[in-house]
Amino acid sequence: MTDISTDILVVGGGPAGLSAASEAASYGARVLIVESDLQLGGQLVKQTHKFFGSRDEYAGTRGYKIADILLSEIKENEQNVKVMINTTVTGYYSEDRTFTAMSGEESYMCIRAQRAIVAAGASERLIPFPNNDLPGVYGAGAVQTLMNVYGVVPGKRVLMVGAGNIGLIVSYQLMQAGVEVAAVVEAMPKIGGYWVHAAKIRRLGVPILLRHSIKEAVGERVVEGAVIMELDDKFAPTGQELRMDCDVICMAVGLSPTTEILSQAGCRMKYVPELCGLVAERDRAMRTSNPDFWSAGDATGIEEASAAMVEGRIAGLCAADSLGLPVKMTKLDEYWTRLDHLRAGEVGSKIRAGIDKVYRDKWEVRLDG
């Protein structure tokens, strides 16, 4: 088994992890990025739409171009950054501060890191319904990967389940790829994503059926259609149903933070519905209750990539600072100002409420250090 050592291990090479790595490396920290996918960039590489936010978060730039910008930034400090793709961090052993990782499917290694920044992102939620094991039932992430990474359309006519930003954006991307979107169904009485994303697909003729959900998939060997149902105020079926023809059912019904490593490291965790799952308590440095661990991005709560990048900067800056490196700590206030702005609106109110539940001004009891 190979042994690797580094100052800072960054788990996950998406927008938060790349920002954290770039920031820490710019102050001279030796950083190892471990990414389970075959390339760096995380979800950014699938994002063909232009980002919101301000210039600081690359607003107006398409997601995959933002990945290129972050990668070229990392290249400026490449002497300090090592990257392992196709590698998954599988465990943490606190007694000797060692991580285990698996590269490909055969090769295992130990990683000794003084500090770790967990930016492992999120996993997709799926909802159960009859026949959801038929070929043609996809998560929205898989549809994006097929289309935008591999250039393969998933089918001819799609029913989208969920009108959050992902459901709305992927619907638009499907139409750009020449795929028909039969409808978007949303159980809530209001779209969850940005109104303008909904307007974009509405004006191209896609119906968004609020208070509707999928009842079942229809088909013998593959998806041939779906039955959708109307819901009342209490999300109970009203009995109104509609059969739709489609060969793809795409689920965009939410994400859950990926936090197993943080749990394993003994970081104090809390289930916060507003942040979409189990997340670590954190302080202003994005440091957890385990002083060797920071966290950033969707792993700290489901939010936009623009916020993930700023959180990554904070974690990278503060992890480098904890190593005694000469960092510009004035940056911390600047980053928090940016985060506060991103979260200031109505859309950010849920995030703010969630963070209030896990934010700690200081730690009463540290594990050590």
Binding site: I191, W195, V196, A199, R202, I208, L342, A344, G345
Partner: protein, 168 residues
């Protein structure tokens, strides 16, 4: 919840709202090159329209979550915002094109790309076909694959045409 509210909640504008106000009619009718029409009624953290506006017609935001406010006297109809807005929520409508037709400057990110002289279908906010239009110009202001298609179509639909469909 009334009918209008649930239509709005599905992404269709039903009335004027902060961030989605029509230009003043008298100024609009005489303004060569047209005026911007913004349809961005939700407070979200996004400001490229304001930061990219070359004349300051889209007023600077005090909070990044502000909805756009327009100083129409400063708007030149340049359509930079049309190309820049990540939500494709900016349009320019030039009512001076000719007697019966207006020039609609509409963001477009679909395939196929139309060419000058093509006939396209002009769509309303729910994708309904409203009229045929003629493509007058196709530009890509930021060279980032958001095209701005200049389409001439009936002037009386100035408050309705918000998209085009190429072919048919």
């Amino acid at each position: 919840m009334d009918e209008n509210e649930s239509i709005f909640n599905s992404g269709v504008l039903t009335d004027e709202l902060p961030g989605a106000i029509r230009p003043p009619q008298d100024l609009w009718e005489g303004k060569k090159s047209g005026l911007v029409v913004v349809e961005c009624p939700q407070r979200i953290p996004c400001n490229p329209c304001a930061t990219s506006c070359p004349t300051g017609a889209i007023c600077a935001f005090s909070d990044i979550n502000d909805t756009p406010r327009i100083d129409y006297k400063k708007c030149t109809g340049c359509a930079i915002c049309v190309a820049v807005c990540p939500g494709l929520a900016c349009f320019v409508v030039d009512l001076t094109f000719n007697e019966d037709y207006a020039l609609y400057k509409i963001p477009y990110e679909m395939l196929p790309l139309p060419s000058k002289g093509d006939t396209v279908t002009c769509l309303g906010r729910t994708g309904e076909a409203l009229a045929s239009g003629i493509v007058e110009t196709v530009v890509e202001p930021k060279h980032d694959r958001t095209y701005v298609i200049h389409v001439s179509a009936p002037k009386k639909l100035a408050n309705d045409i918000r998209a085009i469909k190429v072919g048919g």
